[in-house]
Symmetry: C2
Subunit: 358 residues, 2 copies
């Protein structure tokens, strides 16, 4: 094939249903993937993870590859997402962080003063060789299926660093945000820098989209988000803009933040189940695609209810007008879900959306 | 005073700033109270509660009176709220429920089948003599300060009954809601009946407003709330409509539900800090007053930040137009807050809103 022909012939990944939807292009059916599709809901995941602590498993490229591929094989989802954790880059620069089963990330020395910031040095590609190795292998193996790069957003990562672990009220986090704005913005800038590097490494190794998880930003009032959080997230999105890969921005309970989360530089905004997608469309900037947004609790409902509610999501996305839509849950796959339910849901969404596309 | 004169002379409680604001009438300053104002943030509360389990303390009328009055004395708030818990009426009809410190309500035999419903018999006034006793004493003592009656809404109470305790994902609750709609609606109807009785007892003993806490309804998509939850809450509001006392309806993270929570029959909708009040005004039905909505985490911020953000709430309420506004937090007072911060905040809101009212 000549160079020109190669250029005219769209790359199979670039022309995948998932990436087309991210770019608001027409699609033969709605693409589907699930947050935390690679995880404890799968017996094959539990098998390969046996005896290996979470963070360690994120640092073994062969294992990351296998775990990332499992849901693609099983469910026929339209995208893979790199199996990782938002604290992986922190661990990589030497922070004493662990993921405790049933709890989440736990930080040995929480960051609460200017001196504590010293723990956060710059991330270098050599700190995470396993990431580029895993991505390179994955892209090779995945063929036409796109791989989504993975990172946590500064606010959500900062909340763990400041609280020392998961929180329900984010009291210490907000106390710093409101009370020590200079320290706060230094912390968020450092995290933005680390995150941007973490994502660039994934993109340069072949990831063809990225998702930034600001899972807990929904705890903030819009004004506070805009003033104290959005600038750092903006830095991240800006720093990967040159690559021309779709950038997804996701949070839970972030209905009031959909506008600014889009404005931060996202091509796609992830929406949880609380805001119908047609309403979400009114809140995000023009030309922003939408991802979501089935309540994960519906995975425990009878099939006819689940599929009916999935149709409701597709209809709301349709009512949202000329935007791309990537079908997903409004949050991660619950570990106790029967994986067959997910496989059937993928097939149902594909089939239903094919019918309405033709 | 003749009967006619007594009618012309407004009752001091009826003419209180709090009740006037609930009815969208003009006020000399914005009224203030705080959810969980009677609680662990106060040393005098910790003193009188010492050695007395939570639920037991809700059943001692003298103690309920004392605890309810404490924040009125200390902070000069514009309303008292009956010290109670949403599971008190369940305990009163014989359910094996306890409130575990640091956890919350724990149900010994969760309700998951039709047979389990038998645990929920009708509530009779004789089941809760301490409630009418406490309210009667309180009203006497409070003079011109209104007392708000207290109850949990069917969804939030059902979530504890089904899960067996607090939950983050409400998986079992939603599984019943989506999968066993008949059982679900029977459960919610029974809870609505119990709650309505619980509130009527308080109103007949002298409570001059009520607040229904549907704290966790915000976990539901609006369509699911309307279909599966709103009817039962409507039953409650309808059943106390005859008394002509303002009805407040509150939830956390319920930005998408403000419309239906108002339509359920509320005169006042409580808003958490995620939705600015001028935006909330666009979502609730006309003539609905608003309550809220300072982020409780701000109580840990420096005074100038706290007061500036409180002014932001007052400004947003002003921008919301001709509606009553009751200043409150977006959720309960955190137990670790310095109570002096709350006292100063009440004074600040009174002073600032007096200036802008004149």
């Amino acid at each position: 094939m000549s160079d020109t022909a190669a250029q005219l012939q769209p790359h199979p990944v670039r022309n995948s249903v998932f990436l087309r939807a991210c770019r608001n292009e027409s699609v033969p059916h709605t693409p589907v993937w699930f947050m935390r599709q690679a995880g404890r809901s799968l017996p094959e995941y539990r098998r390969v993870r046996e005896g290996i602590p979470m963070l360690e498993s994120c640092m073994k490229p062969e294992l990351v590859k296998e775990i990332t591929l499992q849901p693609v094989r099983r469910h026929k989802v339209d995208a893979a997402i790199l199996f990782s954790d938002i604290v992986v880059p922190l661990k990589a620069i030497g922070l004493d962080v662990d993921i405790k089963p049933g709890i989440g990330p736990v930080i040995a020395n929480p960051i609460r003063t200017k001196e504590d910031l010293r723990q956060l040095r710059t991330l270098e590609p050599d700190d995470v060789p396993y990431i580029s190795q895993a991505v390179t292998m994955l892209v090779e193996e995945l063929g036409a299926t796109p791989l989504i790069g993975f990172a946590g957003a500064p606010f959500t990562v900062a909340s763990y660093l400041i609280e020392g672990g998961p929180s329900r009220t984010y009291e210490r986090t907000k106390a710093m945000m409101f009370g020590e704005p200079e320290l706060w913005s230094h912390l968020l800038e450092r995290l933005a820098d680390i995150t941007a590097t973490f994502l660039r490494i994934q993109i340069e190794a072949g990831a063809s989209a990225i998702q930034v998880f600001d899972s807990w930003a929904g705890t903030l009032a819009p004004r506070d988000y805009r003033q104290s959080v959005m600038p750092a997230s903006q830095t991240i999105f800006r720093s990967v803009a040159q690559y021309d890969v779709p950038r997804i921005h996701f949070g839970v309970g972030s209905g009031e933040l959909l506008g600014p989360m889009g404005e931060a530089g996202a091509d796609v905004v992830g929406v949880d189940w609380r805001v119908p997608l047609d309403e979400a469309a009114r809140r995000v900037p023009p030309h922003t695609a939408l991802q979501g947004n089935l309540d994960p609790a519906l995975l425990f409902a009878p099939t006819h209810v689940l599929h009916q509610e999935a149709d409701g999501v597709l209809n709301a996305a349709h009512a949202a007008g000329d935007r791309g839509h990537i079908f997903n849950l409004g949050h991660g796959v619950p570990p106790t879900v029967d994986p067959d339910v997910l496989t059937r849901l993928v097939a149902h969404v594909h089939e239903t959306s094919t019918r309405s596309a033709t």
